[in-house]
Symmetry: C2
Subunit: 526 residues, 2 copies
């Protein structure tokens, strides 16, 4: 397990963020090797072969996660004979949607069977898609309907342990106060001449105009609260002008509360709204890929034990779902399984491949889905979607982005990482639930406990055949030590988000798969 | 028509906002009479009568807009015999969804028949619902499914006439630069001691920590750009770390561009995301209300000409859909039609009612829906929903919040107010379209013209029987001059968003309707 502390990790990737943005950001800021323009992906085409009078070869893909499925899909479109070997009982990998009846036995034996109601689900792994991500292109191409994923909500809460139980602050209120005081302070400094060296008179005038609007400052450029904080009584009919939420904290209180550290999350290139999700569950994407590939080409319950490449092909030995040992020889292979499990195979890929794989280590995260008998967050809190942030070990609580106004709903009760995730991984699921509910109750009050129906939790480090939430590398993916994986000499190519600049994102898995497919096709053709 | 200038109007209600928030904000800030806690609405119940051994009376409702429909719905639930008279050919009023085949003849004779494709629509009037608004409660109660309305999007554009054509800036980029420089300047002022009178040493340390994160400042507390601006090449597979969008403007350029004035829109109490809309069109709400009331109780094509109240009832004379003059006598009436048209009826409500109605004047707004043969904004711009802002007379361009990845889509090509709206109202629809497309092309490029299929525009001041987008009052709705409408002496009650603190919002119409219903019921019972 990674030894990153929670604090280090959060600092690195943004308090409540996904992950895997470290190297992208480093690259972006010139800390990593210079950016290379991404070539547009040209999918292999069957006609590429016909022009040469040849037929496409055979490929075995190890792992039916998103990288493996996209590899198989793109190769299949070009006529390659593809077999996907997957040790789990369903395709998708860490794109995992849990519905009623789904089962999970974690590595230490904890067994759960989801009791979610019909129509209710949790996306236990991949959960959000930014507009620029290639993941959306596959949703479009495969006809997977999408809807908004509510990554930010002005009405969601911030709750810190320094606040009284049941007295969280809404994002809209925290922002109004923070932006109000930031504007007041900067307007004052500007007007006192503190920034005359940096700003012209015209700049200062424009800046002050901006701050007045941005901070909702009064005529004397003071912040004293505004309707942006929200209302105790909302404006209604004539006679009910509304009563703005009072109790404006002082500037010292605002910055001491630390609420402001949660704002930048929604500015990040991979987290800014609008974000999206497939309608009905994130696994609608692997399901659609599976249909497009042909389900018969994906062999479930098949655990690979060895991988041998020769000058003419690749031989894989695996144990099938019935427990029989089998072998398969193909022209090429794409290894799209977790790198730290790949090192456990018997293989002849060489020491440099093993060294590269060993530089990619698993990282822990966990999520719990809590199904409630009512959508009390909508009726009692007027919170429709979005993410509440806390400094407790829940890290975040996610309101569902589907099923608004329904009778039931599934909250994500925590999404945490690293050492905290490992601590929860060691708890029996019932204890995870009781711990999560006790902490959530401090934010939302009694219904967080009384309306609960059932829960399902996933400790990613304990999920068989995956054994991690994502990975951390000792170096940038552009480092020469990963060259044996990025540009391998033989007939085995590699794909996964762990071989991209977007770790933990399907976008990274897909881009890496496209690179592997492009290389394989080029090699096969010439 | 209102004589408010666009500039005055925009200053009053927020650049790109809806409207009607002036008095709410004034009330909120203590400029209007003190806030009164809104009593929880207690719907009239049939049992209220049974307890008294009486039966509920009869009510005529003038106008089947949202206020009229909610009045009829709530009274109907309690057993009142309700008749709704509506001069237009459908219920809903300014909650108007335009689909293929819908027709509109504006007052000056301009006729349009919508050619939108199946499944495509525009919400020509009411279009968004905030989480706290009572409108959502009716969606829940009536089983109207809702989805996110994309009121803000980091990837939507800002385009000012000072920017080159086809070179808008994305909100994410504009925010990164503005917040970056604001943070740098305030950190500098703070560290130079300019705010030592306002801030303790601890405050200053916390503020600097906040600013470093909020502005993505470097170690020297300088802003030099960040990945929050977006990328020229997005991070991808190993070897493609991504290339951050360059060309960071100077601090002077940022504030001279004026982009920052568009940010506060999303902090406002009535506009902050998350916002919602009914699935399939805003008129799913009036349709559901109509079903619940009983469609036979809503008489379409019926134009009221006179309203006479006596000590025992109310008599309404109207012309029905066949052109026959009819009259109807009921126990009570609720006048839920536009106040400036109500003054045109022959009535005996008294001079104070006429004076109050005359203090509520119509205001102009217009929208155009542009149907495109492709969703080029998704494929070419990676913009999925949200609102682009411009300083041109388009004011805003709205990307659809439905039909993602479909073959077609309807943009709202402008949503403008006051004098600009009046200028467009005077143009034939074809000219509105060509003018709007020429301006939109400056933002989005050639496809804004070449992919266009058809358009439909609504100039609200010219829509028969409505003749306004919303209203402006000479004073707060709490002013005594409106008492004859808010608390009328006789058997005629009044309802509409124009009698609320949320003009132009369905929330205001509903709250006013609930007040009228409550008063009517109290009066009828005792």
């Amino acid at each position: 397990m990674s030894m990153l502390s929670r604090r280090d990790f959060l600092r690195a990737v943004g308090v409540t963020g996904g992950a895997g943005t470290m190297f992208a950001t480093m690259g972006a800021l010139g800390l990593a090797p210079a950016a290379v323009a991404a070539p547009d992906f040209e999918p292999p085409k069957a006609s590429d072969y016909h022009l040469k009078g040849r037929t496409a070869g055979s490929v075995v893909v190890l792992g039916a996660g998103v990288a493996g499925l996209v590899s198989a899909y793109e190769l299949g479109k070009a006529g390659y004979r593809v077999t996907v070997l997957e040790p789990r009982d369903r395709p998708g990998g860490r794109n995992l949607t849990i519905r009623g009846g789904d089962q999970l036995t974690e590595l230490n034996g904890f067994h759960q069977r989801a009791r979610f109601s019909r129509g209710q689900y949790m996306n236990a792994g991949a959960a959000r898609i930014a507009q620029w991500m290639v993941t959306l292109d596959y949703c479009r191409e495969l006809g997977v309907p999408i809807e908004v994923f509510t990554n930010s909500n002005a009405d969601a809460y911030i709750h810190h342990s320094s606040m009284p139980p049941g007295k969280p602050v809404r994002f809209r209120t925290a922002k109004a106060d923070t932006y109000g005081y930031v504007s007041e302070l900067l307007a004052k400094a500007t007007n006192q001449g503190a920034l005359d060296a940096e700003l012209t008179a015209e700049d200062r005038e424009r800046l002050t105009e901006f701050l007045t609007d941005f901070g909702a400052l009064g005529d004397n450029l003071k912040y004293t609260g505004s309707s942006r904080r929200g209302f105790t009584t909302w404006p209604g009919e004539a006679g009910v002008p509304g009563e703005v939420l009072g109790g404006v904290p002082t500037v010292s209180e605002v910055f001491a509360s630390g609420v402001g550290r949660h704002f930048s999350f929604e500015f990040e290139f991979d987290q800014a709204m609008l974000m999206f999700q497939p309608v009905g569950g994130m696994d609608m994407l692997p399901r659609a890929l599976t249909r497009a590939i042909g389900p018969q080409k994906i062999k479930l319950g098949c655990r690979v034990t060895s991988l041998t490449q020769t000058s003419t092909g690749v031989t894989v030995v695996y144990t099938d779902a019935a427990g029989r040992s089998r072998s398969l020889t193909t022209d090429y292979a794409i290894a799209a399984m977790p790198p730290h499990l790949l090192t456990g195979l018997t293989h002849n890929l060489g020491a440099d491949v093993t060294a590269a794989l060993s530089a990619i280590q698993p990282f822990s995260a966990g999520k719990i889905g809590l199904e409630y008998r009512s959508r009390w967050w909508e009726t009692d809190h007027r919170v429709y979607g979005g993410i509440t942030t806390t400094d407790s070990e829940l890290f975040t609580v996610w309101h569902p982005s589907y099923g608004y106004h329904g009778t039931r709903g599934v909250l994500i009760g925590y999404y945490h990482f690293a050492d905290v995730a490992e601590r929860y991984a060691a708890m029996p699921p019932a204890e995870r639930e009781s711990t999560a509910v006790a902490l959530g109750e401090r934010i939302y009050g009694a219904k967080y406990r009384t309306e609960l129906d059932s829960s399902f939790s996933v400790a990613w480090s304990r999920v068989p055949h995956l054994e991690s939430a994502w990975h951390v590398r000792t170096d940038s993916p552009q480092s020469p030590i990963f060259k044996p994986l990025v540009d391998p000499a033989g007939r085995v190519l590699f794909a996964g988000d762990w071989l991209s600049n977007m770790d933990a994102w399907q976008h990274g898995a897909i881009e890496a798969a496209r690179r592997a497919v492009t290389k394989l096709h080029a090699r096969a053709l010439y």
